[in-house]
């Protein structure tokens, strides 16, 4: 099965640039999430791969084939839309059979393959139903079956779970993942839901304002974001502006409004440069004032609890640490701090990640 390769892909609508010089290569059998806020150009990208939008510049390659000029019907892309786009006038069986009919597959072979794929997605009994007689999850499975039965060279999913309720969404995530592994099909998965992207994807491509920000494994995107927008879009984070004061290896010290802070940073972030220190709320510990000394190289700050929210498995605190900085901290429910409590907060140098650039 083929890989997807985008080379300098650009799409302009009038004066607005929807996708700007996007270069991205998906390895064979890989599931890549194209993640970004709505209107960032991810659906436009998907449509350029499928052939519904013509790129202003750049090439689209599927496998070794340059399909930039090919019409959609010649690209052999399996496509699943957010609202599934099931043909309402056709039964489930007819929907799934559509692509095979277009390929001139004979009747016996067609029936066999449709039955096989419907079994695989767990819809074996529902072939004669019409889409409107199906639940959301069943419609989703029908759409997947219809896209996969044609043995597409790539699978393109456009927010496939956005219309499902939370519980079903979780279930379908794993279903899509296992189906994708079984078919070993190169898949591009467009989503604005960062949790979905992190859970599902082999690699995550974060795209903002039409520009690719970062393309890495989910853990790296989460722990070592390359830009401030990526850090704030993926998960929750605290950002403290500062200036690099010292650096040795990956470790560095940042001069900030709340004093010097120890953290880590990417190569190229040198003395005197403006930076933002990103600290995830779950990596900060909170304790009673003056309870314990920090480990060597860690950070220890004094603060006052301003707000506390109960999230079930943990508490969400907002702690004022002076210098106009309020930290968001998420911690266990064992020790409870109340609003207006004076507390000490700790975080390890490894938990702080410095990003190039100042405020804004």
């Amino acid at each position: 099965m083929a890989e997807i390769s985008l080379r300098g892909l650009t799409k302009r609508f009038g004066t607005t640039v929807a996708v700007n010089d996007l270069t991205l290569t998906l390895a064979s059998g890989e599931l890549v999430a194209l993640l970004g806020p709505s209107g960032c150009g991810k659906t436009t990208t998907l449509r350029m791969i499928a052939g519904f939008e013509e790129p202003t510049q750049g090439r689209v390659l599927l496998g070794d084939l340059d399909v930039t000029e090919a019409p959609p019907e010649k690209r052999n892309c399996g496509m699943v839309f957010q609202n599934y786009a099931l043909f309402p006038h056709l039964t489930v069986h007819q929907n799934v059979a559509f692509g095979l009919q277009m390929r001139g597959v004979d009747r016996a072979e067609l029936d066999r393959r449709v039955a096989e794929i419907l079994d695989k997605v767990g819809l074996g009994e529902l072939g004669r139903r019409y889409p409107r007689q199906l639940s959301g999850g069943q419609q989703q499975r029908t759409a997947l079956a219809r896209a996969l039965v044609i043995n597409p060279s790539v699978l393109l999913l456009d927010e496939p779970l956005a219309n499902l309720d939370a519980k079903l969404r979780e279930e379908m995530r794993f279903f899509i993942r296992s189906l994708q592994r079984e078919f070993h099909i190169t898949t591009l998965y467009v989503t604005h839901d960062q949790a979905e992207a992190l859970v599902l994807a082999d690699r995550v491509a974060v795209i903002m304002d039409g520009v690719l920000q970062q393309f890495d494994a989910p853990e790296i995107v989460y722990r070592r974001p390359q830009t401030v927008p990526v850090a704030s879009f993926i998960g929750l984070t605290n950002l403290i502006p500062g200036r690099v004061a010292a650096r040795s290896g990956e470790r560095l010290v940042l001069e900030t409004p709340v004093g010097p802070l120890h953290g880590c940073g990417p190569a190229g972030l040198n003395d005197g440069m403006d930076a933002m220190l990103s600290i995830r709320p779950e990596n900060i510990e909170i304790a009673q004032r003056d309870l314990a000394a920090p480990v060597d190289g860690g950070n220890r700050l004094r603060g006052v609890v301003r707000e506390r929210t109960f999230l079930g498995s943990l508490f969400d605190y907002r702690v004022d640490i002076g210098g106009g900085t309020v930290l968001r901290i998420q911690g266990g429910v064992n020790t409870v701090h109340r609003v207006a409590d004076e507390v000490t907060v700790f975080f390890d140098a490894a938990a702080g990640w410095a990003l190039p650039g100042g405020r804004g």
Partner: protein
């Protein structure tokens, strides 16, 4: 709790009577100016014709017998239905692409296109028809051009062609609007999906777009057919006296031959035939579209 349930139950009753009240004026208008005259017409069609008065109040079946046994009647009926069918078919073929673009156009463009589409209706029927005469007549603009290019003159008026052109022109908006409403209801992603599954544009149209717009096709064709077979001014002006349709003949029977019962009977007969045809048509289409609705 019970009180609340009671209140909820009471509400639909109030709503229904309120709605009934709202449609009363329209219903009254329809009854007074449509149903009653039609019943009157039905009654007259069973009266006896008379040289002295519009009719004699003596019930008879002679009017219908005479109509049914006259091959001329059936010739006119056939020609009228044929003209209506061709008008409908031509309108459908011409209107579909317009309707498609209208439905898929951007919002601000859609309003402008809509005005263009309904523009034939903004001009009175007589003025519009005379406009066509200027274009179509033997010495008209089109034939002058043809002659200037050294081509043969075409008989575009005072025949079926003339009537057809006039009818299609004025009834196409009804077709376009019916179709556009239906096409607008089709998610463009359905067409994209069909394309990505390997259907070219043509097969996408026939397998997805057209079947899903069928209710618009039915609405448009019924509307245009009914309007075309019952139109009077256009066929009589553009068709001259060679195109004899049922409405023209009915009017002539009554105003020139002073045969009120005969004209009424013909009108009623044609009404029944049209109704029967529509019923058959809707039943046939209904069988095709049943899974959708």
């Amino acid at each position: 709790m019970q009180a609340a349930v009671g209140a909820v139950r009471a509400r639909p009753g109030i709503r229904v009577s309120g709605q009934a009240l709202l449609i009363t004026p329209a219903l009254g208008l329809l009854l007074g100016f449509f149903v009653l005259p039609y019943l009157n017409l039905l009654l007259i069609s069973f009266f006896t014709k008379s040289p002295e008065a519009p009719y004699l109040r003596v019930l008879t079946l002679v009017n219908y017998e005479r109509l049914a046994s006259d091959p001329f009647t059936w010739g006119v009926v056939w020609r009228t239905l044929w003209l209506g069918a061709v008008t409908t078919a031509v309108s459908l073929v011409l209107a579909y692409p317009i309707a498609y673009h209208l439905a898929r156009a951007r919002r601000h463009l859609r309003g402008m296109l809509m005005v263009l589409v309904v523009s034939p209706l903004l001009v009175g029927v007589l003025i519009r028809t005379y406009g066509w005469i200027i274009l179509l007549q033997d010495t008209g603009l089109i034939n002058q051009l043809l002659q200037a290019w050294g081509l043969r003159k075409l008989a575009l008026m005072y025949n079926q062609t003339g009537a057809l052109i006039g009818l299609v022109h004025v009834f196409i908006p009804f077709m376009v609007l019916s179709l556009a409403a239906a096409i607008q209801g089709i998610d463009p992603e359905l067409e994209m999906e069909a394309r990505s599954l390997g259907a070219g544009t043509w097969r996408t149209f026939w397998r997805v777009t057209f079947p899903l717009s069928l209710h618009g096709v039915v609405a448009g064709t019924v509307l245009v057919f009914v309007l075309a077979v019952s139109s009077y001014v256009i066929p009589s002006l553009l068709g001259g006296f060679t195109v004899l349709t049922v409405p023209i003949l009915v009017v002539r029977t009554i105003t020139e031959l002073f045969n009120w019962p005969g004209g009424s009977a013909f009108a009623i007969l044609f009404f029944v035939i049209t109704l029967a045809l529509l019923w058959l048509y809707l039943r046939a289409v209904g069988r095709v579209t049943r899974p959708v609705t």
